[in-house]
Structure formats: C-alpha cells, structure tokens
C-alpha cells in the first residue's frame, strides 16, 4: 500500500511522526502530525476556508449532523471563485433571472451542485439567515435546486454564488427545458392515490360492520344502507382512480401485448359487476372493500415505479452539465464576450482561462498548457498541449489560458457523443422486469380460462352458484401475493442496503448481481484513490517544501500532491516563492534567492543538469513502482527525486479475492497507460490478461457491451451479468450500458446518476457485501414465490371444486400476502458481519 510507504519515507526525514487522517471538512485522507487535534486537519486551503466560514457562523453542528445522517462527505472545495461575476447578468441566468417580489426583494431559482444530504440543505438554509442581504434559501433535494430570496440593495447574486462556492457548492442557472410535465404527472398520481385511499379506508370499515352484522345479526335497513354506501365508495374508487387501469388494459388489447393492467382491469370489472348486481338484489357478497384496497395498493406501486423511471431519465440531463454552458468568445478585434455555447459557430475562437473546463472540441490556436483529461479518459496524469493540438470539451485546462478554435460542440463533441450513448444505453434496458409483467400475461389468460371453465361447469347447478364459484376463483387467484413477493423482497433488500451506505436505484440490479459473470473495475478513483500522492524516493525532505512553495502557484495534480505532502495542513510554513516559468514538463521558480527546477527527468536534463548514478537508480525505482518520477533541483544541484503515484484503496485486493472466490471474473478497464494498469492489476490480484489500459470511453463501452473483438470470447456468453464499477464521467456510458453499473464515491455526480448503484461509503468491500446480499435476496424471492404460488394453486383447485365461497376467498386472499410479508421481513438479507466492519482500523482512516 502506498500511503504507509510514504509515511515511513517521510518519517525517516521528518522529526515528528506523520499520519494520515481525514480532512475535517471533506474527509480526504490528509497528512498530519500525530499531536495535531483532529479539527485542525485540512487537505487544502479551500477546505480550511469553508471550515472557518462555517465555524464563524456558529454552524459547527453541521459536521455532527452530516456524520449522523451518514450520507457521504463534502466535495473538496476548489480554490477558484473568479467566474461568478456573470451571475449578475440576466442573459447568463436565463430562466433563473431574479424576479422582483412585492416587498422589494428578489427571488431566483438556481441549480445546485455538490448537494449530498440533508445536512447540506441545513447548512445552506442557515447560512442564508446569517448573511446580510440574503433573506431566505430553500433547498429542494429531489431536484437539486435552490430558491434564493435576497435584497438587491445590500447584496448581489454573484456574491451569494461566491459564498456558496467557498462552502463547496456550485450554483448554475436552471436549464430552460425544466420538466413541468413530470411535476404534473406526479401530482396526478398522488391525487389518484389520495382518492383511492379515502375510498379504501371507508369501504374497509363499512365492510367490517357488515361482516360483524353477518355474524351477530343486523337490522335489514341498516344492512341495506351500509351496503349501498360501500358500493358507492367502491364504484368511486374503480371509476375515478381505477380508470387508469382500464385505459392501460384497452391499450394492451389494442397492441395485443399482455400487460399487468389487463388482469387488474378484468378483476375490477368482474368484481364491480358482480358486486353491483349483489348490492341491487341484496344477496351475496360485495367486493368493494377488496376492490378499493386493490386499486389503492396498485396505485402506490405505480407511483414508485414512475419515480424510478424519472430518476433514470434525469441522468442525461445531469450529464449535460459537465461541459460549461458558457464560453468566452474572442472577437476579430481581440475583444472578448461571454456567450452561450449554443451560439458559437464552428471556426470561432474561444479563450479558456486556467482552471476552467473547456467548453468545446477544438484545436489550440495559441498558448501552451496542460490539460486534465481524467473526466473523459481517466488518465491520472495531465497531458501538455501546444498550438495545433486538439482538446476535447469537458476537460480541464490546468496551467495557462489558451485560445481554442471551435471544431465541434454540444451533441457533436466527443463528450456529447458519450452522453448520447448513455442515453441509448439507458433506453436499451427494460425498465423494470417484474414478475407480474413477464408471467402476468400467461397468468391472466390461464385464470380467465379457468374461471370461465368453472362457470360453465357449475352452470347446471344454477346461475347464481356458478357466478359465485367463478368469482371466488377470480378473487382467490388474485396474484397479489405472487406480484407482491418480488417487489417486496427487493424493497426490503434496498432498504437494508441503504443502511449499509449502498444506494440502489433499480431493483433488477439485485437479481442480476445474484447471477455471477464479469466484473470490470475502473482504475483511477475506483481501485485507486484518484488523488496522486507524492513520495520521497531519494534526497532530503526539505526539497519537497521548496518545490511545493513554487508549485502552490500551479494548478496541476502533481503540484497539488507535492503541496499536500510538503505541508499536510500547515500551509503557512511554506517559504515565499516566485513562479517564474511554466514549461510543458516542469516549472522554474525562485525560493529565497535560489533558482529551483521541478519537473520530469527529461525536463531537468533539458535544463542542463547531469543526473548522477544515485538519481538514475531512484528514477528507475519510481518507474518500477509505476510512479511518475519528478526531479527537484535547487541552486544548480539535483537534491531530490519524488515518485508521484495514485495510491491503491484499502480493501481493493481483499474485495477482488472475495469476488473471485464467489465465481466472478474480475478485470480492469482503464483509460490510463497500460503499464500503470498492469502494475495496479498485479498489486490487487487481477490477471494480467484481464487488465486493459489505454481505453477511450468508446472502447470501454464496446467491451462492456461485449462487442469488442478482443474480448468477445470472454463476454459474448449471455445469461451472465456484466458489472461495471467506476466513478468518472468517462465511465458514464459503460456504467449505463453494463447490466449493473456501480458508481463509487468520490466520482463525478454525473456517473452516480448513470449507474443504478451508488456506494456511498467509499469502501470497496461494500461491493462484495452487495453481491452476497443479492444472492440471498434471490433465494428470498424464490421462497416467497413458492409460498404464494403453492397457496394459489391449492386455493384455485378448491374454488373450482366449489369448496370456497367468495366470502372465504376474500378472507384467505390477504393471508397469503401476510405469509409472504413475514418470510420477507424475517429473511437475513445482509450479513451480520460485513467485510467492511472487520477492516483493521489503520486502513479505514478513522
């Protein structure tokens, strides 16, 4: 493991013992001295600033609340807040333009990024109360939007946006095409549920009174009155909220595709008909209590399903937010304006400042810089670009401003095409394969035929008796328990998984994970921490401090790693330094009068330094350990060699070994260089021929889909589940295309939306726990189905023989559901001792 290595390396040179502890704000493991109090550990200045801000407001209980709610940690605070001035221009805001209110205040609704749990909402809403001029804030967690009410005479929206940025939240204008359709549809669903619930509850207690009357006697006029009211309520439930099932059934008949609505509508129609006839004649059983409850429960199921589908539809919308929606266009006369990306033309030139995302695909026309492409390709090391090089939208410009000529944008850009494939991949999948949908068609045909059969069989014995037996059969054969078994087991398992910090969006995931097959891991940010760490290989530790003093002015992952290693948490100890010149592979600067060079061995050689034997050995050592060597020269002498590497997460090899022992094939798909991937594969125990490096997002997608020629022999076998575990936007397409996509924490918000599973604990052991839980859930579903099916078979047989009256059928029906419910709740889905809890404390950063 790299972190302990780096500790020992530093400990030999530093006088005090250094240990890795979580940053109090964002939870990233950060270097600290052992005697430092836990609340003084920060990974960077941004987090320190956010912490001090929160502390100054007296809102420290945010941290306690956050840990209590247990849903992950904060986003790391970025050190850039220059781009918020445009929040004062209406053109930029579009639909988020502040609307004046009656009392002179302004109100605006904006999209909010970086929201994790209720503690975030609490923090933002309380921050508003403590900021002069910002009167109110209201966070909507479901939409990730924030409503801001502010006083335009004392503050501006840009100031509020900047403040939120310091806390680690990013504001953006809401997109023009907000779906009011979804909102209306959701409201309609809820209204139907409300009406059905009212009818069901009242029909129920009237039914209780009637049953009591059957047993103990009731006055004829009271009985008639209650039967009439019950019938009325039942008809209301079937006609108003239940109408949706009839429309569905009619559509199903037209398209000749058996659908769950068909048996429901049939049952409702027969029940209503027989019930009405019985109510008028004053004889026989009324089914309206059962009918109203049936409508009510089915509508709730529909509503949950509707919400799940909406969540997956939102995935693409969130992806669109990766690329900036605005760009700085350079006009012919060298002036610049901020314009929407949509109005750009191919051939226009845009200027991208350091630290900004590149908004378009294009070629660099002037300037040199290095680009962090990890979002698109997963490369852990930044690449340098020069005039003429091509850059892609969504990547991050790290060092210096560059001018880019637009070649493609929006949906035509590379990231746009990746998003398109996410959309395709998401729509390819069957939304929710429920038992009722696949077998329901056959089931309804069989039950209808049986009902007609027994009606005809009993007809000689009298019309009324035949109808009674046929109705009893229809009721007792109601696939309630059968239809309940799968969703209930899945719902219970999802709830238990959520308690283990594994959030599952889609229930089918559990069924697929129980099957076994191929698991693909992404490397950067999944198997490794995704944040490079610097490790002293040779030389003096002081050199790191000197190099970090210069590098702190750079915006580069390597620079960040150096700064983190050098100061851990006391940034003030860095000596004053001037950054003179940034080259493609290194930097030159001055510290206390001495000229300092920091860069790759090639860069140092270019600057005219000779690299001695010891240095060469150290460099070779770095390369052998899959770390990128970085050489520091101070005052003309090479003083240190640093290895920059991406540490492997704790539990990675243990999890992979466990998954293998469960019969899964484990592989790595990475955009990073093949040698690094092979090295990581060897460390975590993945076979070399299952570890692929240098893949583009498109390659990953092809492999996951099993279309790639190279790996076709491995993945073309069907009836197996392909699992993709990743975290970046570069994996979004593969995550969505895989049978099961698992997003791990620390990744881009977007991929969490593309994947049906989100592991919030940042612990790879959760993957293994999840697979185990899926298998147990599968057994639970089979048991529950067997229970309800055998129950139905016996009951149908008895009903056909005329042994069950409709009244007894109505009593027996819920018993099968109760037995299924009992089995489900008593089932041990999740292990009592998950792997994650037996992790040695030294590895879990606590």
């Amino acid at each position: 493991m790299t972190p302990p290595d780096s500790n020992t390396a530093t400990a030999t040179t530093a006088t005090r013992e250094r240990i890795q502890r979580p940053c109090i704000h964002c939870g990233e493991p950060s270097d600290s001295y052992s005697e430092q109090p836990a609340e003084e550990i920060f990974c960077c200045n941004g987090c320190r600033g956010a912490y001090e801000l929160i502390h100054g407001w007296g809102l420290e209980s945010f941290y306690g609340l956050r840990d209590q709610l247990g849903q992950g940690t904060m986003t790391r605070v970025k050190d850039e807040s220059t781009r918020y001035d445009r929040f004062d221009s209406d053109e930029f805001l579009g639909p988020s333009t502040p609307v004046p209110q009656a009392d002179g205040l302004m109100c605006s609704e904006l999209a909010l990024h970086g929201l994790h749990c209720a503690a975030c909402a609490w923090l933002i809403e309380n921050a508003a109360l403590r900021t002069p001029g910002w009167n109110a804030a209201r966070v909507k967690m479901s939409d990730h939007t924030l409503r801001i009410v502010f006083d335009p005479t004392t503050t501006t929206l840009s100031r509020i946006a900047r403040l939120l940025d310091r806390l680690g939240y990013e504001l953006a204008p809401i997109s023009p095409e907000r779906d009011s359709h979804f909102q209306n549809e959701s409201r309609r669903h809820l209204i139907r549920i409300a009406i059905a619930g009212f009818c069901a509850a009242n029909a129920m207690w009237i039914a209780v009174a009637l049953y009591a009357g059957e047993a103990y006697g009731v006055a004829a006029d009271h009985r008639f009155f209650m039967r009439m009211i019950g019938t009325g309520l039942g008809i209301v439930a079937v006609v108003f909220p239940g109408r949706t099932f009839f429309t569905g059934a009619i559509a199903s008949l037209k398209t000749r595709v058996p659908h769950m609505d068909l048996p429901v509508a049939l049952g409702l129609a027969v029940g209503t008909l027989v019930g009405t006839v019985n109510a008028i004649t004053g004889e026989g059983h009324l089914y309206f209590d059962s009918l109203a409850v049936l409508v009510f429960l089915l509508l709730i199921g529909r509503w949950i399903q509707f919400h799940q589908q909406h969540r997956s539809a939102k995935a693409v919308d969130l992806l669109l937010r990766i690329t900036p929606r605005h760009a700085t266009r350079v006009n012919a006369d060298e002036t610049t304006d901020t314009v929407l990306v949509d109005v750009l033309q191919i051939g226009d030139t845009v200027r991208v400042a350091a630290g900004e995302n590149i908004p378009v695909d294009g070629s660099v026309v002037s300037g040199q810089s290095s680009i962090d492409r990890s979002l698109l390709t997963g490369e852990s090391v930044a690449v340098s670009v020069d005039e003429g090089d091509e850059v892609a939208a969504g990547t991050l410009n790290l060092q210096r401003p560059i001018d880019v000529r637009v070649l493609a944008m929006g949906r035509d850009s590379r990231i746009g095409k990746v998003m398109q494939s996410v959309e395709d991949a998401a729509s390819e999948k069957i939304p929710i394969v429920q038992f009722a949908d696949s077998v329901g068609g056959v089931f309804v045909v069989i039950v209808s035929l049986l009902a007609i059969g027994s009606f005809v069989w009993w007809l000689p014995a009298g019309w009324s008796l035949a109808a009674s037996h046929a109705t009893a059969l229809l009721i007792v054969a109601c696939p309630c328990a059968l239809a309940l078994a799968t969703p209930l087991a899945i719902a219970v398992s999802l709830g238990r998984a959520a308690k283990h910090k594994v959030l599952i969006r889609d229930g089918t995931t559990l069924q697929q994970l129980a099957r076994g097959g191929q698991i693909w891991f992404d490397k950067t940010g999944t198997l490794t921490s995704g944040r490079p760490s610097a490790e002293l290989v040779w030389g003096s530790a002081d050199a790191i401090t000197v190099a970090a003093a210069i590098e702190q002015h750079c915006n580069h992952p390597v620079a960040e790693a150096l700064v983190r290693t050098a100061c851990g948490n006391q940034t003030e100890s860095l000596p004053d330094a001037a950054l003179d010149c940034v080259h493609r592979q290194g930097v030159v600067g001055h510290v206390e009068g001495l000229e300092v060079f920091v860069g790759s061995p090639a860069f140092i050689r270019e600057q005219g330094f000779g690299l001695g034997g010891e240095v060469q050995t150290a460099i070779a050592q770095c390369t052998a350990g899959a770390a990128s060597p970085c050489v520091i020269a101070v005052g003309g002498i090479v003083v240190a060699v640093i290895g920059i590497s991406d540490p492997i997460k704790p539990n990675a090899s243990k999890t992979i070994a466990r998954l293998k022992s469960r019969g899964w094939r484990v592989g790595i798909l990475s955009g990073d260089h093949s040698e690094i991937v092979q090295h990581v594969a060897a460390r975590v125990g993945v076979d070399a021929n299952q570890a692929f490096g240098g893949l583009s997002p498109e390659d990953k997608l092809a492999i996951v889909r099993g279309q790639s020629v190279d790996v076709a022999d491995r993945t073309s076998i069907r009836h197996e589940t392909t699992v993709m575990i990743g975290d970046g936007a570069n994996d979004a397409a593969a995550l969505a295309a895989a049978d099961v996509g698992i997003a791990v924490r620390g990744g881009v918000e977007v991929s969490l939306q593309a994947a049906p599973v989100f592991i919030a604990s940042d612990d790879l052991a959760s993957v293994d726990d999840l697979v185990g839980a899926s298998r147990r859930t599968q057994w639970l579903i089979r048991t529950a189905l067997a229970v309800s099916l055998s129950y139905n078979l016996i009951a149908v047989a008895l009903a056909m023989l005329g042994k069950i009256s409709p009244l007894i059928a109505a009593i027996l029906m819920p018993i099968s559901s109760v037995s299924v419910l009992t089995v489900t709740l008593a089932w041990p889905t999740y292990p009592l001792h998950p792997l994650s809890t037996i992790t040695p404390p030294s590895e879990s950063n606590k």
């Binding site: 941290y63 306690g64 749990c117 209720a118 909507k140 909102q183 959701s186 409201r187 209204i191 409300a194």
Partner: protein, 52 residues
C-alpha cells in the same frame, strides 16, 4: 340505531373534507419534493448541541 343514518354520512363528509384538503395540498405543490422535508424535521432550528 337510526343514528347510523346521520353518523355515517357525516363521517364520510368529514373524511371527504380531509381528502379534498389533501388534494389541494398536492395541487399546491406541497408534495413535489418528498426527499427534503422528511429529514428537515429532524433538524433543530436553533443551535443544537455541539458535534462530538
């Protein structure tokens, strides 16, 4: 027991009133965000105890 003829309709009217109120709330948008309020009520308004 003829009170039943009065009590039952009254009960239904009261229940119906509740249902109408619920529908008005849904139409008014109170049920649009079902994620935040469920946790917001757990959060104290004024300075709660310090985190431990």
């Amino acid at each position: 027991m003829s009170v039943l003829f009065v009590a039952l309709p009254i009960a239904l009217i009261l229940g119906g009133g509740g249902m109408l109120a619920c529908i008005l709330c849904i139409r008014g948008g109170q049920y649009d965000d079902l994620d935040t309020p469920s946790v917001r009520m757990l959060i104290d308004d004024e300075k709660p105890k310090r985190p431990h």
